[in-house]
Amino acid sequence: MNRLAFAVAAAAVAAVTAGCVSTHARETQLDMAAKTADLEPQDVRRTVEKMVDSMLADREFIAEYVTGKPVLDIGKMQNRSTMHLDMESITDSIRTKLIRSRKFRFMDRASSATDLQFMNDQALNGMTDQSKAVKMGQQSAAQLFLYGALTEMRNKTNGITDRYYKFTLNMKDLKSGEIAWTDEQEIRKEQKRSAVGF
């Protein structure tokens, strides 16, 4: 009987304390140590930085193509890996850094439909001073096109997951059709699963 009472009391204490799980959140640094073999935020940040730095440090490319702030267009990077990743976010980051360098100008085709709507409205709604209205046929044109891809290789041997990622970025001269600049960022990560533990 005593044992039964003790078991009941223990179960009651366990049930009560199980509800006392507190949630604790805090700000943390942007670049953390690797936690998994997947691509993590710090890997993406390093890739963006490496690509932009590599482009700005390429003397021959800068001398030949980046005189007078060329106009660029950027395509969404292809994701040829098995991992879900917001590739548009990566291209956004690359574009932001290149614009901040004040060496390039960018076209934004994603909002072309909005531009057209503004021009139509300003031309037709009768409310806009036509001397200030944005006229058709005045937009800039891209001279260079930036595009790229992410690829992946994976292996699993003796409980060790080995993953290799490669980002490739290319800059194409739209006039000549030649690739004016290209670079790669390789990332290799491994993850071990311990034999003991959860």
């Binding site: 943390t28 640094q29 942007l30 670049d31 953390m32 140590a33 710090q42 940040r45 390093r46 930085e49 490496k50 932009v52 730095d53 700005l56 440090a57 003397r59 800068i62 001398a63 980046v66 850094k97 901040r100 360098s101 004040r102 060496k103």
Partner: protein, 137 residues
């Protein structure tokens, strides 16, 4: 009894100390306007393992580029992280969050270079931070 108390105090000190990871590393400051460069070693452990041997900088079409050469002074492989943050003439950081820590795997007695580009022509001073990966969360 005294021995037991001492052992308990020591155990408590170890337990408390285990939560205190030293996060200070080595800092290299570069001023491309004056040509000054200085190395500040804040971690004795890292200072005994990594040495800054060369600091250079130049200009690529108006954007500053700095290169720091580091050398391992031990035989073991080291896992480090480093990032270069740029500042304007007044010393204000330019896009500090946009400059992530990059991983460096440095083999025993090996030498490697770390190169950083300023985010724009405003960046004239640079600060390289080197830390051990084990000290990162």
């Amino acid at each position: 009894m005294t021995k037991t108390v001492k052992a308990m105090v020591a155990a408590a000190a170890v337990a408390l100390g285990a939560g205190c990871v030293e996060t200070a590393g080595t800092r290299v400051s570069i001023d491309t306007q004056t040509g000054d460069a200085s190395v500040l070693e804040c971690s004795t452990r890292l200072a005994n393992r990594v040495k800054v041997v060369k600091v250079t900088y130049n200009d690529v079409a108006g954007i500053k580029k700095a290169t720091v050469t580091i050398e391992s002074t031990i035989h073991k492989r080291q896992r480090l992280q480093a990032r270069m943050v740029w500042m304007d003439e007044e010393g204000s950081d330019i896009d500090a969050d946009g400059k992530p820590f990059r991983a460096i795997v440095l083999d025993g007695e090996d030498v490697t270079t770390f190169t950083g580009m300023a985010p724009s022509s405003k960046g004239v001073k640079a600060r390289l931070q080197i830390r051990e990966t084990d000290t990162v969360e």
